[in-house]
């Protein structure tokens, strides 16, 4: 009797259960009831979430204006590349943006580039984060080739990403008064604080024969050069937006905003597009219906599937757990 009790106690230890393959387990069996219940549950969860998300996206007001073709004067439209590369021609351009719905401050200004592959492998590689932090003290900038040094002097910040800095500028005037654009705080705080050095100044930047983009003020340390910081956070897709600034005033319906922009940046050599975007923001960010539509779609299809399953269950009822469905129990089984 003692050995029986000992054996029984030994049988309950975790190690014994583990080695004897008899761990307590839950054996879920997916019954039709569960399938229908789960689909219903998903429908009930996702449709409201989707609707809330869609609403957030719909209450964002966005104005998009493509200006790269229209800002090239008529005679030069045949050869836009040489127009843009000609430094002697002033590149001013005026655009009109009509506000179709009330936009509450802050209103975010983005420039959108299309067909611009910031995610190209050679492009993404072409930077030196350590040099951004340490400046000229850091020497191993081989990844920045061919924009590593010029006339035997190092370039700070090196690399193609910095070299191709976007340099169109925008000014906004409404009813004769200039709208103040806040160009501070447009980059992520972690970038400003930790990725770009506070004591690093641009050096020998954009001095070469081939100008890729904007110039940098050598007096301002990199951690305050927010345009550069925003530009250097390479985007994932070939069509992207980057934050330019914020307007801290409301815009009413039917306001006409005059945009005076400098069309400096060359996207014509590779068929790229430039757009200016004014957008408000919600708790979910900018205007993007995709999430909302996806949630609603998942919710609706779950509900539809639940209904279909209920109908099928009623029509093609297979007796649940009926052993006569096993092949060796069926009469026509032959081996």
């Amino acid at each position: 009797m003692d050995t029986d009790r000992e054996r029984h106690r030994a049988r309950e230890t975790a190690f014994y259960l583990f080695t004897q393959q008899s761990l307590p387990a839950c054996k879920p069996v997916l019954t039709p009831g569960w399938v229908i219940a789960i689909f219903l549950f998903m429908g009930v969860i996702f449709i409201p979430v989707g609707l809330v998300t869609l609403r957030a996206s719909h209450c964002v007001v966005e104005i998009v204006d493509r200006y790269d073709i229209d800002c090239v004067p008529e005679p030069s439209r045949m050869d836009k590349v040489s127009y843009i590369q000609d430094d002697s021609i002033p590149k001013n351009c005026s655009r009109f943006m009509k506000v179709h719905k009330y936009m509450k401050a802050p209103i975010y200004i983005y420039y959108q580039l299309d067909n611009y592959y910031q995610n190209h492998r050679r492009y993404v590689k072409s930077r030196s984060d350590k040099q951004l932090l340490d400046g000229q003290k850091y020497h191993d900038t081989s990844y920045c080739q061919p924009v590593e040094s010029n006339n035997n002097r190092p370039i700070v910040p090196c690399g193609l990403i910095a070299w191709s800095l976007f340099n169109d500028t925008f000014e906004f005037i409404r009813e004769g008064a200039e709208l103040k654009v806040n160009r501070k705080n447009i980059a992520w705080k972690s970038d400003r604080g930790h990725k770009f050095g506070k004591n690093v100044y641009p050096f020998n930047f954009q001095n070469g024969t081939l100008i890729g983009g904007g110039k940098l003020n050598p007096e301002i340390p990199l951690s305050d050069q927010e345009d550069l910081i925003v530009w250097m956070r390479t985007s994932a897709l070939p069509s992207f937006r980057k934050l330019y600034g914020r307007i801290e005033e409301d815009l009413d319906v039917d306001d006409v905003v005059v945009v005076n922009l400098m069309n400096n940046y060359n996207t014509y050599s590779f068929g790229g597009k430039k757009k200016l975007v004014l957008s408000t923001s919600s708790w979910l960010g900018g205007k993007n219906d995709f999430l909302g539509h996806a949630c609603v779609f998942v919710g609706c299809s779950s509900l539809t599937l639940a209904i279909i399953f209920v109908l099928l269950h009623v029509k093609y009822r297979r007796p649940y757990g009926d052993m006569s469905y096993l092949p060796w129990n069926r009469k026509s089984f032959s081996g």
């Binding site: 997916l30 350590k130 930790h194 990725k195 980057k242 934050l243």
Partner: protein, 669 residues
């Protein structure tokens, strides 16, 4: 010098110890099938005692004493048909000078360096002749407990069982009856070398004539049976076929010209019994099936004579026990009793197959889903080869983030419990037909992997085209990729839970743990910037992500959208096209969980010996036939053979106690 306690020569009822000097021992081996010993009596008389199989002893008997030989042969046949194992004993008086000359040859042979076995055999031949028969012995050799049940269950599972034994044909047939391999309804094809025609030719003595005649006989019989066999197939409820063939005929049947006929015939039979086979023939038969029929073969044996057979088969199983450990040492698996074979195959073998299929499929699926996401990304990078994920993500994906759960599944997944697996042995056929890892299954998993990778990539990247931060800032490449990777890890781990049949606490721990490890890793990885970081590092990416509400909405949406297709497929498959094991699962869904009471069978009450005996006797087969195999029934009752002859041997006290204690450990029949 050995001492034998014999009854006193002169005084009745008293014993004396007589000393004998053992001069030579001629050891047993399976080619000679006998063993002998030369001893010297106290009065100087030299005697050779020989013991062995009846065929080899009878070959070496001297003339004279023919009456005794005939009577003994009759007895031997009777013993054989009762299913007992027989031996013959014989002796020979040796003259001293004959012995001396022979002993010299023996010592030379024993100390020779080359071909010692062969030389010893030759020397033994010289002295083992002109023997005088003493008599025959018969032994009741009981089968192990649970063997007939086990064999019946395995044949229900679709496994064909062949018996290869060194015993005589009658003994072998009896064993087969006892094991349920043969029964009276089966049509038996018997190819034996002990027919009168063959004996007649053998008496003539011409070796080549014998060989040619036997070959012709075997060929004729094989052809005849092959022609007869098809007619039994036409009716599905017709009798099953069985083949019985003995070692000498097998020798001719395994020759290249007759081998195919033998194979065809034997594959059509539900059971095959080969008797009087030598160890080499056991291996040859196994190879015949393995290579000729291209089936998976398993051989199980417990003695040294089974070693070659165990090694010849695909899977060799040794039973450790009374006959020593040679079989165990040569085998792939060792078990303690024959009946554990049922557990090994039907429970653990089946579970291993299911687990292997799941693990392999899951591995391909998770890597496919992960890698195809990168593939879709290349379309948006101008085909420049920019990677979507960080290097460390890719390296650690298979090592930390998704590794442990699949190992846990491979260790613990059970579709149905072990008792149900044995109750429905037909489920074993699912593995034989390879239903869980064929092209269709692989294609389905691949399609779902493609679908999921599309969901991962496009849901995340299309929803990041505008700012996701309430403060208007935009995501960069590494933010999008970290978001996608988080979704991949979560989805792939949840998919594992969906494909488990039994979920233990370790599953929860490993799946939850893997996801938590991912978060811990990314918190640490993106929180630290060191001197040794590469370019374009991921500093602070996850904190940026987690500060947006977009992260949480997407983390809710993407795994659900990705798994929607899989869930739908599982529901439809289980409902309309269920596998056999799923039907069994459903019908036993509400069974009480019996894992914590594995000893429930042990608490039966003990039966008294009388009750046990009458219980067992009532379970004997009721057929009226010479062959009932009762000699081999499981222990638990007295010798039925003895009782049949009216010799009721009262059980000894120690025997009753032993059997009573065995009964308490045995399972109910």
């Amino acid at each position: 010098m050995i001492y034998v306690r014999e009854s006193h020569v002169e005084k009745m009822g008293k014993t004396q110890d007589v000393s004998y000097e053992i001069l030579n021992v001629l050891e047993f081996n399976s080619t000679r099938k006998r063993q002998s010993v030369v001893c010297r009596y106290p009065d100087g008389r030299l005697v050779l005692y020989c013991k062995g199989a009846d065929t080899v002893i009878y070959e070496r008997l001297g003339t004279g004493n023919d009456d005794l030989n005939k009577v003994t042969r009759v007895h031997l046949e009777q013993f054989g048909s009762a299913g007992l194992r027989t031996l013959c004993l014989a002796y020979r008086d040796l003259a001293p000078d004959l012995y001396e000359s022979w002993n010299e040859k023996f010592i030379t042979a024993k100390s020779s360096l080359r071909d010692r076995e062969k030389r010893l055999d030759e020397v033994a031949e010289l002295i083992e002749k002109e023997l005088i028969l003493i008599g025959a012995t018969a032994i009741e050799d009981k089968l192990q407990e649970g063997v007939p049940n086990c064999i019946q269950t395995l044949s229900r599972a679709g496994i064909k069982i062949w018996v290869l034994t060194g015993d005589k044909i009658e003994t072998a047939i009896n064993i087969a009856y006892a094991c349920n391999l043969l029964n009276n309804e089966m049509k038996q094809f018997i190819i034996s070398s002990e027919t009168d025609a063959i004996r007649e030719v053998e008496e003539r003595g011409d070796q080549t004539e014998i060989a040619r005649f036997m070959k012709e006989e075997v060929k004729k019989q094989l052809k005849q049976f092959l022609d007869e066999a098809p007619q039994y197939f036409c009716s599905p409820s017709g009798p099953k076929l069985a083949l019985v063939i003995d070692g000498k005929c097998l020798m001719y049947a395994l020759e290249p010209s007759l081998r195919i006929m033998l194979l065809t015939l034997s594959l059509n039979c539900s059971s095959v019994v080969c008797c009087r086979v030598s160890p080499l023939q056991k291996a040859q038969v196994t190879s015949l099936v393995k290579k000729g029929a291209r089936k998976i073969t398993l051989s199980i044996g417990d003695g040294a004579n089974d070693v070659s057979m165990i090694q010849a088969a695909h899977i060799g199983i040794g039973i450790s026990g009374l006959e020593g450990m040679q079989a165990v040492m040569a085998s792939d698996f060792a078990i303690a009793q024959f009946r554990f074979l049922e557990d090994l195959l039907l429970v653990h073998g089946r579970w291993s197959y299911i687990r292997l299929c799941k693990v392999v499929m899951y591995f391909f699926y998770k890597n496919l889903a992960f890698t195809l996401t990168q593939f879709w990304f290349t379309f948006g990078t101008g085909f420049s080869g920019q990677r979507f994920y960080d290097d460390w993500f890719q390296s650690l994906y298979n090592v930390i983030f998704t590794a442990l759960p699949v190992v846990i599944v491979g260790l613990f997944d059970q579709d149905i419990s072990s008792s149900l697996s044995k109750k429905y042995p037909e489920l074993y056929k699912e593995g034989v037909r390879n239903m869980f890892f064929n092209r269709r299954i692989v294609a389905i998993w691949a399609c779902f992997a493609v679908y999921q990778s599309l969901v991962f990539f496009y849901f995340v990247s299309l929803s990041s085209s505008t700012s996701r931060d309430s403060d208007g800032k935009m995501f960069g490449l590494w933010d999008v990729s970290t978001m996608a990777f988080t979704c991949v890890v979560v989805t792939v781990n949840l998919r594992l839970l969906m494909m488990c049949n039994s979920i233990t606490r370790w599953h929860y721990i490993s799946v939850g743990g893997s996801i938590i490890v991912w978060f811990v890793f990314i918190f640490v990885y993106s929180g630290i910037m060191t001197r040794f970081d590469r370019n374009d590092n991921m500093f602070w990416v996850i904190y940026v992500l987690m500060s947006t509400s977009y992260f949480y909405v997407t983390l809710l949406l993407v795994p659900v959208a990705a798994l929607l297709g899989d869930f739908l497929y599982l529901g439809v498959q289980r409902w309309f096209f269920p596998y056999d094991y799923q039907i069994v699962q459903e019908s036993h869904k509400d069974d009480a969980d019996s894992i914590n009471t594995p000893d429930s069978e042990e608490t039966k009450e003990h039966l008294t010996p009388d009750e046990a005996r009458s219980n067992a006797i009532s379970q004997l087969p009721k057929e009226v036939s010479k062959h009932s195999g009762f000699a081999f029934d499981s222990p638990g009752y007295e010798s039925f053979f003895a009782t049949q002859f009216g010799k009721y041997v009262p059980p000894k006290a120690w025997d009753v106690a032993r059997r009573a204690s065995m009964k308490s450990k045995s399972k109910p029949k």
